[in-house]
Amino acid sequence: MSKTGTAIARGPAALTKRGGRRWRLFRGNLDMYLLLLPGIVFLLLFKYTPMYGVVIAFQDFNIFSGISGSEWVGMDQFQKLIHSGDFIQVLVNTLLISLYKIVLLFPIPIVIALLLNEVRKMFFKRTIQTIIYLPHFLSWVIISGLFVTILSPTGGLVNEMIQAFGGHPVSFLTDNHFFRSVVVFTAGWKEIGWNAIVFIAAVAGIDQEQYEAAAIDGAGRIRQMISITLPGIMATIVLMFILRIGSLLEAGTEQILTMYNPLVYKSGDVIGTYVYRMGLGQQDYSFSTAVGLFNSAVGFLLIVMGNMLSRKFLQRSIW
């Protein structure tokens, strides 16, 4: 405690009372700031330095000259981006895959939560949960490995079934008509069970007395599901939906990287994979950074807007 006394004596001459208290807190807890050191170094080096690095989107970046030695070209990269047919196709693919995923996959976990809530046999309920959560823990590479095998045109399970019903085998992973569907289906296969957890917890939080009252009034189970359970978890549904919209431009970069090939670039190339191909494949650093910056900026706007909506309708902030 004597240390803090000298701290005040040495502190800036015109200390306000509040400033003095803050200074004391700072001096008295220097080791707290020491604990923060690795975290702050990490934050500045691996989070904020790359943010500064996006300035190469406004340059014609040359890897040997670095940021300071490269020529500034203003908005040229973005001009190129707008006029690039590739980019438009990539943006369309991203939005299509992402919207399919939201429209088709967002409601299923809610339905799972509603159905599981009706199951009274605990053993059955736990077994189903254990099974449908599992794929979440497997890497995309493993999932791709599983589906490459069962979708294979030579001896794959799905194509054997198609042929058994008299159809022709389909090369799902190299056909532009099917690739997006495969991406959406496998994403659902991996995550719908896991995504149900939040809704299952929300259902468990509903006051049981409401059900008893409804049963006395003669409401059947479907009626109760629609009039009690669903409204009871509506806030969670809206919040999850807002969060989901925030990642609209993330159509599943890692997933698609493990599944696609040049034959399906036309339907499957999304912003993330395009940035990777242009930047690291063709070393067009400035252009791909511009694409990445477009992606980050739109993502940022979506999250900020989502938070505003959440504050307005749910009276709570996302963060």
């Binding site: 934050l43 989070k47 690095g53 189903i128 823990f137 890497s139 917890a201 791909s288 709570r316």
Partner: protein, 290 residues
């Protein structure tokens, strides 16, 4: 309980059928690939293998799991996962603890700086150029350092710290204990469950990470399991198995692919009971505390 009506029974039947179908849909790909991994190659390519093996054999599996490259990539993945998880837990807790003391000057600003990185990031290319500048290409550090602290995980630990009773910390402080002593001797020992949850979050991330190794690792001797597996799966590139032409004739590509996928799934299956227990808690902490 009142007796069940016919409508109730029909509803129950419907619900059970739907849920059982979902369970089977989840298990089917595993059953099929597992069967293929222990079947004869001719049966696989002719499409005879469904959900049970045809011509049961363990040679393919034995070949895959004794393969030098496979074992080496398993070792690399294990190394990155263990070191990464321990490092991440340590630095995340060290960061979360001071940030949980809102009254200290500067903490409010720092939290905002951390949260901002959840909403906006530099993107793939600036990150790559940074790693290159730091000479971390083809260095396992590139798989750990850039992802050392997950801000989401840090916020979960921070809110857990905030929920601990302050009386213990205060009495230790009166006895003259320094903050780091309080963190390591009092706070962390009280945080077992949350550290286990977050530790598993990190471990699964490091184990399953494919993107960072793909970008930062070129050398075959540093390839983690996911990269090795991707080579086998996508390219059906049996040359990465380092075998002689003789072996190529005997070791079938389809069977090897199936067996490699199964062998890579086993480590996750072994820890799955723990994962399920702690992860669900973590997801709920995260969604409740934002």
């Amino acid at each position: 309980m009142r007796s069940k009506t016919i409508g109730d029974r029909a509803l129950d039947t419907f619900i059970y059928v739907v849920l059982v179908c979902m369970g089977l849909m989840t298990l089917l790909p595993f059953a099929n690939v597992l069967s293929k991994s222990v079947s004869q190659e001719w049966a696989i390519v002719s499409g005879k293998v469904g959900i049970y093996p045809i011509g049961f054999q363990l040679d393919t599996m034995r070949y895959v799991v004794t393969n030098h490259q496979f074992l080496h990539s398993l070792y690399i993945s294990g190394l990155v996962t263990v070191i990464g998880t321990l490092g991440s837990l340590l630095v995340t807790a060290m960061t979360a603890y001071p940030l949980s003391k809102r009254e200290l000057p500067g903490m409010g600003v720092l939290i905002v700086l951390f949260i901002f990185t959840m909403m906006f990031n530099g993107g793939i290319i600036p990150n790559y150029l940074l790693i290159r500048q730091l000479h971390l290409i083809d260095n396992l550090g590139a798989l750990i350092l850039p992802v050392l602290v997950s801000v989401f995980n840090m916020l979960v630990i921070k809110s857990y710290f905030e929920s601990l009773p302050v009386s213990l910390e205060e009495s230790a402080k009166l006895e003259g204990a320094r903050n780091y002593t309080i963190l390591f001797r009092i706070v962390l020992p009280l945080s077992g469950p949350v550290l286990a949850t977050i530790g598993l979050f990190y471990a699964v991330y490091y184990w399953n990470d494919y993107f960072n190794p793909m970008i930062y690792i070129n050398s075959t001797s540093l390839k983690p399991l996911q990269l090795y597996l991707q080579d086998i799966v996508m390219n059906a590139d049996t040359s990465s198995l380092n075998q002689s032409a003789d072996d190529l004739m005997n070791v079938p590509a389809e069977g090897v692919r199936a067996a490699t996928v199964i062998a890579s799934t086993i480590p996750i299956l072994l820890v799955y009971p723990f994962l399920q227990k702690y992860f669900i808690k973590g997801v709920l902490i995260g969604s409740v505390k934002g």
